[in-house]
Subunit: 235 residues, 2 copies
Amino acid sequence: MDPAVSARPPGETARTQVRRLPNKAVTDRARVHRILDAGRIAHVAVVGDGSGRRRTPNPELDDPIQPYIVPVGYGRDGDRVLFHGSSASRLFRALAGGAPTCFTVTLLDGLVLARSAFESSMNYRSVMVLGRCTELTGPAKLAALEAISEHLLPGRWADIRPPSDKEIRATTVLALSLDECSAKLSDGDPDDDPADLDRPTWAGVVPVRTVLDPPQPSGDLRSGIPAPNYVKDWV
Amino acid sequence: MDPAVSARPPGETARTQVRRLPNKAVTDRARVHRILDAGRIAHVAVVGDGSGRRRTPNPELDDPIQPYIVPVGYGRDGDRVLFHGSSASRLFRALAGGAPTCFTVTLLDGLVLARSAFESSMNYRSVMVLGRCTELTGPAKLAALEAISEHLLPGRWADIRPPSDKEIRATTVLALSLDECSAKLSDGDPDDDPADLDRPTWAGVVPVRTVLDPPQPSGDLRSGIPAPNYVKDWV
């Protein structure tokens, strides 16, 4: 790993500047794209719940500083991440309304077994994006749904029934620019204190990987329909 | 899967009540424990950065409604989750100061290939905990560090150098009660619209699993030290 560090690279602000362990900062936008493209699930945070639209105030829900996190599948289109959720979700209403958000993708790559508790850690790649989402409509909304599907299920879109107008209305599709983002990457061997190197303790890394198992047909699949080649290619 | 649903089970409040797809709600506390015990990484959200402790106000950092997410390794002790971070981290200072937080664990179990775009989805297990953290000190702090280590690296604690006083001071250890939590679980076949079942499209699930590969010794490992049996047991 060679995470080049510069003071305030493009896309970084005081809010996304990597302060802890800055040697793990990744400043190359292409690398940010690669991390995003290797993930499937993002965690998105938002404060409150669009309570401005609630008819009756609810003190239990309207705490102005309570953050919520929602896990989402996502895709990427150039320098924007794309994700969707139910139009009826209060968190998606808040996001569509322009509430500040934090979008995070974390990929766990390994368990790092150092000789001390303090240096024991994990290898990972992560991206954090800050900003406010834009709600997509019209042709851009359908194109984003296809981009998300093709990120998560490459080759699938041409094979399935596209969303109906009613289904599209039931879905909120959001785009978030990578204008303000940061990434971190940790890999390689444990970084033990020199004084610990002579301990008779094994040290190293246990790699962690996400794997796809062979496709399992649905119980209601009509006989004679084989699993498509594009699915076999994922495994 | 049989996620029983009841109105407001123990530990659930209006804030954690599962509103979207409530049929996916998991109300059994033992099941919440099992989901937490199967994960390694949590995403923790907090608003702001403990700016009350900043000597000079910084408008770029002090937006009161900007949430941040930090990924953490974690452990569990009964009905509390435990995690740690650097005492110098502004987000950990905010959490230790009692800022409201959201702690989320998401396990991706499968890609769900329905016959329509709208019903295409993912199988997952997730837990969301809301609350304010308690900072641990003294013997409870060391015990929590051991619990986190034993969750992530079972059997390792007895083999490594315990943290020094200086290392313990550099670490903030937090506990968050499961008093206010919810869980969701989605598994099984795609849930296609009956009108789509006669499409000549394959449908089913591609299972997703996290696997550990064989341990890789550190480049600075002294010769003759074998990988411990407890590590081999993880794979």
